[in-house]
């Protein structure tokens, strides 16, 4: 059966997400308070749109929330998002709830309140901007366990001191792992005797606190 996704609130974010989910073949319903936003959303082929306040149980019921597999709350208010996700969980038994929050301090609290996945736009964007400002050949792909562990991508510049060396010769912390190497877009499984070349893209799994040191070893900066 097709997975059913419920998107509550949000306008631009809801549009982008709905498009992407529909393209992947999911069944998507969007709930929005604003009738004008609903009209625009309704122009998307295949998207079911409902006008109403998603934090009201009867609106969720009309949107067949009990049949949804995933609920995503994107309203601009933290309290609305929290209540929407809790109603989805408690009244409609939706397996997975995802909530946006405006304030980084509330992330932990939201998890504690039973929401399965909490995304803070502010901290996500600032951390990406920070990364970009720091080094352009280095990007965090995925922060794990609240950002303590990160999967990141690093392209070895021609000036790197480690080019020509084997992985076994590198002085990397034990908390940094080179998970894979992309050479000319082909993945290589790294071993101790693998020699690094310029323009290799390294996929690192590293403890956040060791990342800067690892970048320094690998790029010489």
């Amino acid at each position: 059966m097709k997975k059913r996704i419920l998107i509550i609130g949000g306008y631009h974010k809801a549009q982008r997400l709905a498009r992407s989910f529909l393209d992947k073949g999911y069944d998507v319903t969007a709930i929005n308070k604003d009738p004008a936003h609903c009209q625009v959303l309704a122009q998307m082929r295949g998207l079911t749109v409902m006008t109403g306040d998603g934090s009201k149980p009867f609106v969720l019921e009309d949107a067949a929330a009990e049949q949804a597999d995933i609920a995503i709350a994107l309203t601009p208010r933290d309290d609305d998002n929290l209540v929407i996700c809790q109603l989805c969980k408690k009244l409609f038994h939706i397996r997975k709830t995802v909530s946006l929050t405006a304030s980084p301090e509330k992330v932990k609290f939201f998890y504690k309140m039973g929401i399965d996945s909490v995304v803070c736009a502010l901290s996500t964007i600032t951390s990406i901007v920070e990364q970009q400002a720091f080094l352009d050949e280095f990007t965090t792909l995925l922060p794990l366990s609240g950002g303590q562990l990160r999967i990141s991508e690093l392209r070895l510049p021609a000036s790197s001191p480690v080019i020509g060396k084997t992985l076994g010769e590198l002085q990397l912390s034990r908390e940094v792992i080179i998970a894979t190497i992309l050479r000319a877009d082909q993945p290589l499984v790294p071993h101790g005797d693998t020699r690094l070349a310029a323009q290799d893209v390294l996929i690192l799994i590293a403890a956040a606190r060791q990342e800067a040191a690892a970048v320094k070893v690998l790029t010489g900066r």
Binding site: S55, P57, R77, D78, V83, S103, F109
Partner: protein, 155 residues
């Protein structure tokens, strides 16, 4: 930080939302000699308080932990949450229970449909619609009991 040492060990009630209900309750508790801290986002809301109100007022967003810290919620015995937004009330109630372990939390919810979800959370909720309906029902019953009696009283 507000200094409350002058209150000694007596019980403290924190009220969030200085609307008609919040201000009326704050006035009553203050008249009865209770310690009250009233929080509202909007400073102008405090004008509803009577000149005799002897409690404290704090302007700030109570969904923010910093504001609740400032109101010394950790030492409050009762928290009454009566802003005009149900979802805000629910979030503050859960914050208080999780992060401040407030012994008694009372929360107004306009929408009776949401009540069932939050009752089990250890939060006492009251719904004006349901209370009014009960009160009206009682008045109707009283009226039926007295044939052509004069109607008096109310809630």
């Amino acid at each position: 930080m507000l200094s409350l040492n002058l209150f000694g060990k007596s019980k403290l009630t924190v009220i969030v939302g200085c609307g008609r209900l919040g201000s009326t309750l704050a006035n009553q508790l203050s008249d009865a000699g209770k310690n009250v801290i009233l929080i509202d986002q909007n400073e102008a809301a405090f004008r509803k308080l009577s000149p005799a109100y002897a409690g404290l007022m704090l302007t700030g967003d109570a969904t923010d932990r910093a504001t609740l810290n400032q109101a010394e919620l950790n030492r409050a015995d009762h928290l009454v949450i009566v802003t005009n937004n149900d979802n805000t009330n629910i979030m503050i109630a859960q914050l208080a229970r999780e992060c401040f372990r407030t012994p008694q939390i009372i929360c107004r919810l306009y929408d009776p449909q949401r009540e069932c979800v939050y009752r089990e959370f250890g939060i006492q909720t009251l719904c004006p619609t349901r209370l009014s309906a009960l009160a009206i029902e009682r008045l109707l019953a009283d009226c039926a009991a007295i044939p052509d009696g004069k109607q008096e009283g109310g809630y």
